[in-house]
């Protein structure tokens, strides 16, 4: 944790332009690259305007937390980042989401390609009803990797990466459903690591887990940060404070505030943020 905070100091010497509301948009001065640069992004479910004019600049090798009351659009936003939100047929969008400089909303952008770069972990652990091995090998296999030796390597590395190798190495051929919830969730993270994504999106990955498992996943997120950019949605403000570098506060489909996590939790700029964080609502 100490190490983490040290790193973040780098980030803090950005200059707030007065014209801009959010810190994230403006820290061009830092040494980190943007992974997701969202510009004036809007999203509708049918007539329901779920995301309104979102502007966010998410940097690489950081943990960005998204918090906000239920229904504020957190899941919608994070799913927009890998275009999973398009699985809902009534969705319409406009604006830009640039992933490493390219607008993913462009019709020429293949979603499959995007999603191999941008992995996702879901709220409820959702392993496939297959063996642990097959779960992890799923991603590489669909992308055409058939070599058994390479697959073995990937599986081991991914499981180690998700800090679950020791627990399951003796039963790779057992069904993943035999594992506990917390283990399943780490299997899902490992599955996601297996295709070596650049960014990992996590939608309330611990909300279905017990405290011990939550702790493990939180630790894991801390570790992964060195190699991946992580965007995590959470209900749990303590969690956001514990593990994230930056925090975005969503309310009614808008970004109220986006800043370094310690700033948000110590001296939020917006009254609504303060109210929310202090538990005065939602």
């Amino acid at each position: 944790m100490v190490e983490l905070k040290n790193k973040m100091t780098n980030n803090e010497n950005h200059i707030n332009k007065s014209s801009s509301q959010f810190a994230g948009e403006t820290n061009n001065a830092t040494d980190k690259n943007s992974v997701f640069l969202t510009k004036n992004f809007n999203l509708w479910y049918g007539d329901h305007h779920a995301l309104k004019d979102i502007n966010l600049d998410i940097k690489e090798n950081e943990v960005t937390a998204i918090i906000g009351p239920s229904g504020c659009g957190k899941s919608t936003y994070i799913k927009a980042l890998n275009r999973m939100v398009e699985l809902v047929p009534i969705v319409k969008t406009n604006g830009e989401i640039n992933y490493r400089g390219r607008n993913i909303l462009d019709s020429s952008y293949e979603v499959e390609e995007l999603r191999t770069r941008v992995g996702m972990v879901f709220q409820k652990p959702n392993p496939f009803p297959k063996s642990i091995y097959d779960n992890i090998a799923y991603g590489p296999r669909i992308h055409g990797i058939k070599n058994k030796k390479i697959l073995d390597e990937i599986v081991e590395k991914s499981l180690r990466g998700a800090a679950i190798w020791d627990e399951v190495k003796d039963r790779l051929n057992q069904n993943a459903y035999g594992l506990s919830g917390g283990q399943q969730q780490r299997i899902c993270i490992a599955r996601c690591l297996a295709i070596e994504p650049d960014v990992i999106l996590m939608d309330e990955p611990t909300s279905a887990l017990d405290p011990i498992s939550t702790l493990k996943v939180e630790e894991l997120v801390q570790e992964l940060k060195d190699n991946y950019s992580i965007i995590i949605v959470t209900h749990n403000m303590q969690q956001a404070a514990r593990i994230s570098d930056k925090t975005a506060f969503f309310l009614n489909g808008e970004v109220v505030e986006f800043d370094n996590t310690d700033k948000i939790f110590s001296t939020p700029r917006d009254q609504r943020t303060e109210d929310y964080i202090s538990g005065r609502f939602g």
Binding site: E113, P140, H143, G144, I145, R160, E196, P197, D198, Y228
Partner: protein, 315 residues
């Protein structure tokens, strides 16, 4: 990027990039929806085929017999040498008699069995009884036909001396037995899919199992149950061999269930396995009757869909 991280010999993303852009994958992706929609259209084509088959010959039939005589006539005497009469109502009535009797047997018993299986029986009992019931549904209908004729009818005759050897009662009951598993099984499915949490909610209020079943589970599963009943009754209407064997061949226009009757299906079998000449009015009449039967089941199904949509409960 990510690959530098864990010090890999193989970078997965590189491997992926290498195998990407195989044309085949994208081609399959484009092709499959087309293949599948074509397959899905076969079911539509089947309906078109049925309509085409039926309408074509029915049209010929109505060249010879007036449509009003057919629809409103109360006498069905196609073989009468002197004056053949083609009033379909006796056949319709015969069909309805069977359907009603069958429903009277199968609906209460089927739903009762479904409630027992889904709400009272242990898992083990259910796992044994349900498949056995399904065997009952799988018994070929001609087996049932002989069962009705050689077992149920004589037994009923002991109880009701005036019962004729051919009657509506016996095949009606046996058709009911045949469709009972369908109602029991499908209703049980519908009731089992009511989440347990809802049951627990009611039990925790001090409800008895009976109250849970009748006031919570049954209403929640109503759409599924109605669907099962309608499907089953529709089968009863379309049932052929049992009524051909045990129902007789006397189209009558009365409400008597102890005497010989004839259903629409039985008439079709009678003619298609009988000696009526090809190209005669009688020959065309089976298509008219088949068409009537088709319309009948169609209306019933539409009605059922409407009802089950209106009563659908979300959970």
């Amino acid at each position: 990027m990510a690959s530098q991280g864990l010090g890999r010999e193989h970078s997965v993303q590189d491997l992926i990039a290498k195998s990407r852009d195989k044309k085949g994958k994208r081609f399959v992706e484009k092709l499959m929806p087309i293949v599948l929609v074509t397959i899905a259209l076969i079911s539509v084509l089947t309906t078109v085929g049925i309509l085409f088959t039926l309408i074509f010959e029915t049209f010929e039939f109505f060249q010879r017999v007036s449509i009003t005589d057919y629809l409103f006539g109360t006498e069905w005497l196609p073989f009468s040498g002197s004056e053949p009469l083609f009033g379909v109502l006796p056949l319709v009535l015969g069909t309805l008699k069977i359907a009603v009797i069958a429903a009277c047997v199968a609906v209460p018993l089927g739903i009762a069995a479904a409630i027992y299986l889904s709400e009272y029986a242990t898992d083990k009992t259910r796992r044994i009884i349900k498949p056995v019931l399904e065997v009952l549904a799988g018994v070929p209908t001609i087996v049932y036909g002989f069962f009705a004729l050689t077992f149920v009818t004589p037994m009923l005759q002991e109880l009701i001396p005036s019962l004729k050897i051919f009657n509506a009662l016996s095949p009606g009951i046996v058709v009911g037995i045949m469709i009972l598993p369908m109602i029991a099984s499908l209703s049980e499915d519908a009731m089992s899919s009511v989440p347990n949490s809802i049951r627990e909610g009611a039990l925790a209020l001090g409800a008895t199992k009976l109250e849970v079943s009748l006031k919570v589970v049954l209403p929640a599963a109503l759409s599924g149950i109605i669907a099962s009943v309608v499907l089953a009754v529709s089968r009863a209407i379309g049932e052929t061999m049992i009524v051909s064997l045990a129902g007789g061949a006397t189209p009558t226009f009365d409400l008597n269930v102890t005497g010989s009757i004839q259903t629409m299906t039985a008439y079709i079998v009678q003619v298609s396995s009988g000696d009526a000449g090809y190209g005669t009015t009688i020959y065309y009449s089976i298509y008219a009757v088949g068409f009537t039967l088709f319309i009948f089941t169609l209306i019933m199904n539409l009605l059922a869909q409407y009802i089950s949509k209106r009563f659908r409960e979300e959970y």
